[in-house]
């Protein structure tokens, strides 16, 4: 429409400063930023804290079993004690008494040796042994240990009998299963760190939301946009100023969130659940740098969208719905348990998340992945900005303000 050239920067800087100043005086906007700075780290911290506590309690509390008729199974009692499980020999109880005992949660299980046990055992016939448990009281790990001892007890007897008949020990045990867990502490921790950052990134889209909406749809609602467009400032400077203000708020918010999260995770004794949080500050800054293109995209996306709404509320609804799209990968992809692939670096949000996962796992990430991650977010941001600037230039838009 115009063939005159005009510097974009001065107007852009003025608009950026004014939008930031207004937002810094907007209590609602600041509350929102503050909320998202602490929200996800606190949620994460609380759930990890709970995990640690549960683990510690399980270790503190001894595994106890109650045995009725312990006198008939001295070997079993001994094997329990060797496995670190305390045996309380008790007097016979009826079914209701057993239920009441288990409901007190002092014992993982109760073993009742029926009277038929001793004669059948002596006759080399299957001897009945009762294991009572209350499945409404979740003590899976402890119960598994009790069951393991019981199985071992049965196997030992079988082998002793076979030996007595001249059969070698190994015949009755053709396979000896040995279990190994190859997940190193670093790779398990890596998964956790990536998951946490993935969740932290969700907030990116909320840090800039208030400013993005208020400076576009809000300005339309307050009837100040027409006059702004009638100033000697090119549309690119108007959009650019609002965009960078929103993106800047986003970077600051994300930085604070990461710092807060980092402090929280450092303070938690994660070693107790076999994890570790050892991120140096430079790494953290690297993560933030990785996320800057994402901030630029989030701000551009929301501004392009909110520009089409006539009021703050309308824009809030539209942006809220539209945000499901970029946030979907954060939720869906971990559920699909996909292998890391090159295409993931070409999807905004997913690219940042994948990059972090790989870095946190200690994998080498090719430089192309970095470039692709930053490039795709920047491209998406540029596309959104282009749409927004075209919109400001269109007569239909001017007629609607």
């Amino acid at each position: 429409m115009s063939n005159e050239s005009h510097p974009i920067l001065p107007g852009l800087v003025s608009i950026l400063r004014k939008e930031l100043r207004e937002t810094l005086r907007d209590r609602r906007a600041l509350w929102m930023v503050g909320l998202f700075v602490v929200l996800y780290p606190l949620l994460m911290g609380a759930s990890l804290h709970k995990m640690i506590e549960r683990e510690a309690r399980a270790e503190r509390e001894q595994n106890r079993v109650a045995v009725i008729g312990a006198g008939s199974v001295p070997n079993l009692v001994q094997q329990f004690e060797e496995a670190g499980i305390r045996v309380d020999a008790i007097d016979p109880l009826d079914d209701a008494g057993i239920a009441a005992l288990l409901a007190r949660r002092e014992h993982t299980a109760l073993i009742r040796v029926p009277e038929a046990f001793a004669p059948r055992f002596a006759a080399l016939r299957p001897a009945p042994l009762e294991l009572w448990q209350d499945s409404s009281v979740a003590q899976t790990a402890k119960l598994r240990r009790v069951e393991t001892v019981l199985r071992g007890y049965g196997q030992d007897i079988a082998q002793a009998r076979l030996l007595a008949h001249g059969v070698a020990r190994g015949v009755a045990q053709p396979v000896q299963l040995q279990q190994y867990d190859t997940a190193s502490r670093a790779s398990r921790s890596g998964k956790l760190i990536a998951a946490i950052f993935g969740v932290f990134f969700v907030a990116t889209f909320y840090f800039c939301m208030n400013l993005a909406i208020d400076s576009t749809a809000g300005e339309r609602e307050r009837r100040s946009l027409e006059l702004l467009l009638a100033q000697p400032v090119p549309p690119a400077a108007v959009i650019g100023g609002k965009w960078l203000a929103a993106a800047l708020l986003c970077v600051v918010g994300l930085g604070l969130e990461l710092l807060f999260g980092h402090a929280l995770l450092t303070a938690l004794p994660l070693e107790e659940i076999g994890l570790s949080w050892r991120l140096a500050l430079p790494t953290l800054l690297g993560v933030l740098a990785t996320a800057i293109p994402l901030c630029l995209f989030a701000a551009a996306f929301e501004i392009a969208l909110a520009l089409n709404s006539r009021s703050f509320k309308e824009a809030q609804t539209a942006v809220g719905f539209a945000l499901l799209l970029p946030l979907l990968p954060i939720v869906i992809v971990p559920m699909l348990e996909l292998e890391t692939a090159a295409w993931m670096y070409a999807v905004p949000v997913l690219a940042e998340q994948t990059l972090l996962l790989e870095l946190a796992r200690g994998h080498a990430v090719p430089i192309s992945a970095f470039l692709s991650t930053a490039g795709v977010s920047l491209l998406a941001a540029a596309a959104a900005l282009g749409v927004a600037i075209r919109r400001l230039r269109s007569e239909r838009f001017v007629l609607g303000i």
């Binding site: 307050r222 100040s224 000697p232 400032v233 007569e395």
Partner: protein, 244 residues
């Protein structure tokens, strides 16, 4: 100085402007009169380069806003019919913001701020935030930001709407002072009393066409009407859209 010749603009089937021609000279207040929907706002939006004309010529101090909207806007002070302020900024910050957008440096802004504050008598609100301003105070801020960069041409859309008598008088005095300084003032209005007291020239526009441009006295003479309102009604052919 503003010159408009044979301006055409259509939106789909609607002809918003259908051959409007007028001019507003320096050192004069020119009133743009017309019923609602006559094309006043469209004409103003073409003047400040937000809309492109379909045909005709526009000249603001030798600049065509169709090809050089930013240069044209630097010569315009604009007061639209919607006075949108930023509630969390003070009056001084409003003025600084718009001064910066016009490319003024800090010193020029401070000096110009003192001037418009004196001209419009707004010492009491200069460091207050706009939140809670009365309609009159809002209009003063809007006018002050239009005047800050000392534009040669002023485009005012219904500037006295919502003002009390004291504010209206202050505004009239300000406009007269600006006229003395040689400003070209184009005033779109519905208020006949204002036209009577202020306007050196009257442009009557209806159905997107300008039907007459003359001094108020000449207008009354030509139509043979006693007062301006009757003359206006005669010119546009009915009495729709008159809100005095």
């Amino acid at each position: 100085m503003i010159q408009v010749h044979d301006l055409h603009k259509r939106f789909g089937a609607v002809r918003a402007l259908d051959g409007a021609s007028f001019h507003a000279a320096d050192g004069r207040i020119t009133a743009l009169l017309g019923p609602n929907g006559a094309g006043k706002t469209t004409a103003l939006r073409i003047l400040f380069g937000l809309l492109q004309r379909d045909a005709g010529t526009v000249d603001i101090d030798g600049i065509d806003p169709g090809t050089a909207p930013l240069a044209a806007r630097r010569r315009l002070g604009i007061l639209t019919d919607q006075v949108g302020l930023y509630e969390r900024l003070t009056t001084r910050e409003h003025l600084a913001y718009f001064g910066e957008l016009h490319g003024l440096d800090r010193r020029a802004i401070a000096q110009a701020t003192d001037e418009v504050v004196a001209l419009l008598g707004m010492d009491d609100i200069i460091d207050r935030r706009a939140n809670g301003f009365s309609q009159g105070q809002r209009l003063k801020v809007a006018l002050a930001r239009a005047l800050l960069h000392r534009p040669r041409n002023l485009l005012l859309d219904e500037p006295t709407r919502g003002l009390d008598i004291m504010s209206t008088r202050a505004l009239r005095r300000a406009l007269c002072a600006l006229r003395e300084r040689g400003c070209c003032i184009l005033l779109a209005t519905h208020v006949m009393q204002e036209v009577n007291q202020l306007a050196d020239e009257v442009i009557v526009i209806t159905h997107g066409r300008s039907v007459l441009q003359a001094a108020p006295a000449v207008l009354r003479e030509q139509t043979g009407a006693d007062d301006l309102e009757d003359a206006f009604v005669q010119l546009i052919g009915n009495d729709e859209g008159i809100a005095a």
